[in-house]
Symmetry: C2
Subunit: 707 residues, 2 copies
């Protein structure tokens, strides 16, 4: 083994963490640039301040609510499992919350600066918004690498590598579970405020979007920040952390657990994901610099950033892989060489590009899906809805097809570990992908501030153009998150099976080892698939109900204010924004509990009911992944397509604004709101909660299962 | 073995067929009663004649189109398989078409008689409509028993029992594939006509439902007959025939193939499903007589009929089971006694009741789901849609839960064969269940005829009351069909695995026997689940597109007529109903091809692509069942609930007719139309096409797979 190879093997994790720190340092530099920029005039600062105050108030209460739940789970883990897992859980939960909090803070800093920058030029506005997004991207990725890496290194010192890997499952659970709450809470908040504001404001009182006379306007803008920024940041933090942990877990179980591989390979299997992650932080920085220096169409520049970032990763992965792994690695029954593993990592990068292109096709105003919905709006509300629902279902075909190909190929190149590596490399692109996503709500808010501060129309035109780009980017990120979640969950299912095998062993008297095959010919597996398949349907149904109920509270409050102070509509009295913010906050936190606990209840009940048990549970994990993937893609695609179909009509097509087609498209957009921003994206962390929890409870329920 | 036991064993199949003939004789008696009743006045007969003419014209063309496809498949089967399978295919296809044709004929006979009977009393109208439905029910069930039984007996004479069983798969494919076409063609026809008529008639020209000035009115009424009657009859014929064949197949493979069982048990395994079927024909007759003599609320009488029919079956199953089977039967690894098998058959009967109750809860105006949609309509189109979609998803939970319990219990009582028996007994209730279902479109048409013939309002009031009952019954039958289809498909998947094992044997050099486990830890199985899971989403998306396109043709034609003859709207000119009928006919037949061939293409491509093959195909079968079940239940429940939410508002709640809430509920109803009458119910035969085709092609692709 060469000096470099030995060096990378021994220092790969610290090197990955150094890259993470470089990313964080760059993020801090960007924050300074943002803070240094002008936040605009008095009126703009006032509005931004109100939005920020509302968002902080919500997050404070969310942290409080979630902390109570987390504390209960911490104690339960301490009793039923062990201290390292429980501590891991708290770290995961804390980091997930932190990621969300930072995402929101940066967004509210950047939105008013983007509005101000839009008064000078389009490119300055693009840069301001993108820098805001980039901070979130770098922080989320850096935080995830650091949390997992530091925890692993420290835990290894105390309890050894094998136990440290197991305790990482606690960290994964913490980040996933909290991210379900954040996604749901934020998603319910943003859509309840949005739908509630629209129902009374637009329909009953004929107010425009962002009209300051609407008492729910500030709540609506707060929603963008707590849902699209904080919720999304927590979600992607979770996805990244969990895929990293999944890869480490599977590396330890399959490569490390295989006697044919030496200690070096066992170590390399754990180091490799950190190295890939570290490299991609550098790639993300290159992508961000690309935006700073490149001029042209906003959409093209952002896509160029993704491409640049991907190329940097693809080039640097090659030497890293060949240094870390020897000529032959035993994975499962097959021998693989480093080039195989390199190909597996490339698959993840390619999948990122594929998902971006497909989602863009189904949700951008430039292609036939969105335009066909716009056309269907001409014949009314119902045909708009039918067309949107059908497009969402069509949109599942290509991503699922490519996921299938990715599974086949990456398994071919490296067994289950190959799939894990593909997921890790896919997620390592999160740095630049989130930069694009967070860009959306920032420009959306910037537009809102421009309207409320009565800035000239040209400013709103610039933020509107950027907002349309942001809309597609948001849809793209959701496609990316859910596709990677599907793959990551499969890796977790693999870990569940390996863990179960490790615990039960090959010859336990009361447990037929045949069951560990999870064969489709076993009725219990089929029943598991049904129960698991049900979960996404039920979860999204409850989530949509929650939005409906929370929106109802907003409607009642707005009606109350408008009735109590008739001067509001005449512009003579100021509405009480705070009460609306307060009501949505309480409603969102109240309504998120049931759906968020649903996956937990499903797993625990299946595990505890004697007629069900570990075999049914295995089916549940896969069933949730299968239907979850379809439901999530269909919902986010339909939602994005409806939204942009409305935008397309507003651009003057099919009769333009205030035409019957426009009214129909507003219906589609409203139906799409909880689809794409609450229920659909929350499936992503939900799938993983189910899978991680199942791994975690194996030792707890083992005695019951083997009785 | 007692004399009776020996007698039943040797003559069980003929006895079952005799029961089928008794059912058919009773059906002919009912037809005579119907024909003898007064068809009403001149105007009523004219309208009924126009509807009948349109329906017959459509079915003639549908038979023509489908015959071409069937002929091609017949030739392909002759080349790639053998003559008995190909002949079986033709018989299955012909019977499926016949069932649909008879269903339609009876409905158009009964509708005008129901209108006429409604001029005398409610109970007479109920009896007339129910007798029409009962004819279809008895004919479908009798035809299925006879087709399968006679084919099996005759084929056994020529090629022996084992080969006869295999050739039955051809019969199953014929009935399923043709029933996909019939369901889709009829479903597209009925909803294209309905939506098309509503879009121009109600929205653009302010015409009421069934207004004779609307050129698409007759097409709309024809649609009820070709979709809800013909399509449904073909569908349930298929479901019944396929479950019967599935039970025979699994009986032969698992009980007959087990050396521990003697020849008598092997024979009993095949005879048993016929005996159960025969008994339930008698049960259905009792149920029909119950309606004739019982007085009271229509809904209660119909439910009583189901109960009476179930009790007769439950009582007679007991001696039959104990006569046919000896004290111990080896099924899989376990020994079972006749009481076990009796319990398995009871599970099917209970499941029928459970599904009826659950679907009734989610789609009847008496319970909270429908009322919550009605309430949500107050805040507009979007909230109506969101509420309906959420209800549909909620509605999947209980049926799927009970299906899981049914699988667990029936497997416990008789292994895979136990599941097959449960499905057979569930389907054997089809006689009485279809009587309820066919009741719906007959009363719907009767109401249409009453309006168009300008009969007194009291007549319409009676048909309206019966129509509301019919609506819930239609939803209930769909739930019943899809739940039984899910179970039947699982039986077919079991047969696929057994067939594959039988063909490949235990030690083929180039095929790892581990693959025959279809383990969830095998990536190919997961990919199969994804591909199969995609099918229902894509299939329903294409189906909804098809309705949209066909409805577009209707809209254009109606607009053309109203523009060309301005006198139509003033009631001075007669619209040309025939052209509309003709246009929908052509559009429906054209648009049904792509979605109907989708499952065939999926199976053949997966089988033929070397990287996929039989293991992925196994995953595809289960994947289609899992997501298909959810999508079908969600769609049919949402659709039924939307429909009745509209009816609930029309009863005067939430503002009643012409209120904003009513407008919103019309949107929901229109979205629900293709959901509940085209896409949703067509999933049922589609799932089975996939599973049957997979069984059928095993010997064809075997060489390729073992290369």
């Amino acid at each position: 083994m060469s000096f470099f190879a030995r060096f990378l093997l021994n220092n790969g994790i610290p090197l990955g963490l150094v890259c993470a720190l470089v990313g964080l340092a760059f993020a801090i530099y960007l924050i300074r640039t943002i803070v240094a920029a002008s936040p605009g005039n008095e009126r703009m600062r006032q509005i931004a301040g109100a939005i920020e105050e509302g968002a902080r108030a919500y997050l404070r209460r969310q942290v409080f609510t979630i902390s109570i739940i987390a504390a209960i789970i911490f104690v339960l883990l301490l009793i039923t499992k062990d201290a390292p897992t429980a501590i891991g859980f708290v770290i995961g939960a804390a980091c997930s919350l932190t990621a969300g909090y930072i995402g929101m803070r940066i967004a509210v800093l950047a939105n008013t600066r983007t509005t101000q920058a839009a008064t000078t030029s389009r490119h300055e506005a693009l840069k301001a918004a993108f820098n805001g997004g980039a901070v979130t991207g770098l922080l989320v990725v850096g935080l995830a690498l650091l949390a997992v890496g530091v925890f692993y290194v420290v835990a290894t010192k105390f309890i050894g590598s094998a136990n440290a890997v197991r305790s990482l499952v606690g960290l994964a659970l913490g980040s996933s579970l909290i991210s379900v709450f954040a996604r749901l809470g934020g998603g319910i908040y943003t859509k309840a405020a949005d739908v509630g504001a629209d129902l009374v404001g637009k329909i009953e009182s004929n107010l425009d979007e962002d009209d300051p006379r609407n008492p729910a306007t500030i709540a609506d803008n707060v929603g963008d920040n707590v849902g699209d920024c904080a919720g999304m940041a927590a979600d992607v933090f979770e996805t990244y952390a969990v895929s990293l942990i999944g890869a480490i877990l599977l590396g330890a179980l399959t490569l490390g657990g295989n006697a044919a591989n030496g200690a070096d390979i066992a170590k390399a299997a754990i180091v490799y994901p950190f190295v890939l992650g570290g490299i991609s932080v550098l790639g993300a920085i290159i992508g961000i610099l690309y935006v700073a220096f490149k001029r042209g169409k906003p959409g093209a520049i952002l896509m160029g950033a993704v491409l640049a970032s991907g190329i940097v990763s693809a080039v640097l992965y090659w030497p890293a892989t060949h240094l870390l792994f020897p000529k032959s690695v035993q994975i499962g029954d097959a021998l693989h060489d480093p080039t195989d593993l390199y190909f597996a990592s490339l698959i993840g990068l390619v999948m990122t590009g594929v998902v971006v292109i497909i989602t863009n096709y189904y949700t951008s105003t430039s292609f036939s899906p969105v335009r066909s919905i716009a056309k269907a709006s001409e014949t009314g509300h119902a045909t708009n809805i039918i067309a949107g629902l059908a497009i969402g279902q069509h949109a599942t075909a290509l991503p699922v097809g490519f996921i299938g190909i990715a599974i086949l190929l990456s398994f071919h190149f490296g067994g289950l570990y190959g799939i894990a590596i593909a997921v890790t490399s896919m997620l390592s692109m999160a740095g630049v992908i989130i930069s694009l996503d967070a860009f959306g709500p920032i420009t959306d808010n910037a537009g809102g501030i421009a309207v409320m501060s009565q800035l000239p129309k040209e400013v709103r035109a610039i933020t509107d153009e950027l907002d349309a780009v942001g809309n597609t980017m948001k849809a793209v990120t959701k496609g990316y998150a859910i596709a990677s979640a599907g793959l990551a969950a499969l890796v977790l299912f693999g870990s569940y099976v390996e863990e179960l095998k490790a615990h039960i062993g090959t010859g336990h008297a009361s447990f037929d080892p045949h069951f560990l095959e999870f064969s489709l010919t076993e009725p219990k597996v089929i029943i598991g698939l049904f129960i698991g398949g049900l979960l996404p349907f039920l979860f999204t149904a409850f989530s949509m109900d929650a939005v409906g109920k929370a929106a109802g509270s907003v409607v009642r409050e707005v009606r109350r204010q408008l009735a109590a102070k008739p001067g509001i509509l005449r512009g003579e009295e100021t509405p009480d924004y705070g009460t609306c913010v307060d009501i949505v906050t309480r409603a969102a936190l109240r309504e998120m509990i049931v759906p968020a606990l649903l996956p937990v209840i499903f797993v625990l009940v299946v595990a505890a009911v004697p007629a069900l048990g570990p075999v049914v549970l295995g089916g549940v994990l896969v069933g949730t992944i299968v239907t979850g993937l379809f439901v999530a893609i269909a919902m986010t695609s339909s939602g994005g397509a409806w939204d942009n179909a409305k935008k397309y009509i507003e651009e003057g097509n099919h009769g333009g604004k205030h035409s019957p087609a426009h009214a129909a498209s507003v219906t589609g957009d409203t139906v799409g709101d909880p689809y794409k921003d609450t229920a659909g994206p929350a499936i992503n962390p939900m799938i993983k909660v189910v899978n991680i929890l199942a791994i975690l409870i194996i030792p707890i329920f083992l005695k019951l299962w083997l009785r």
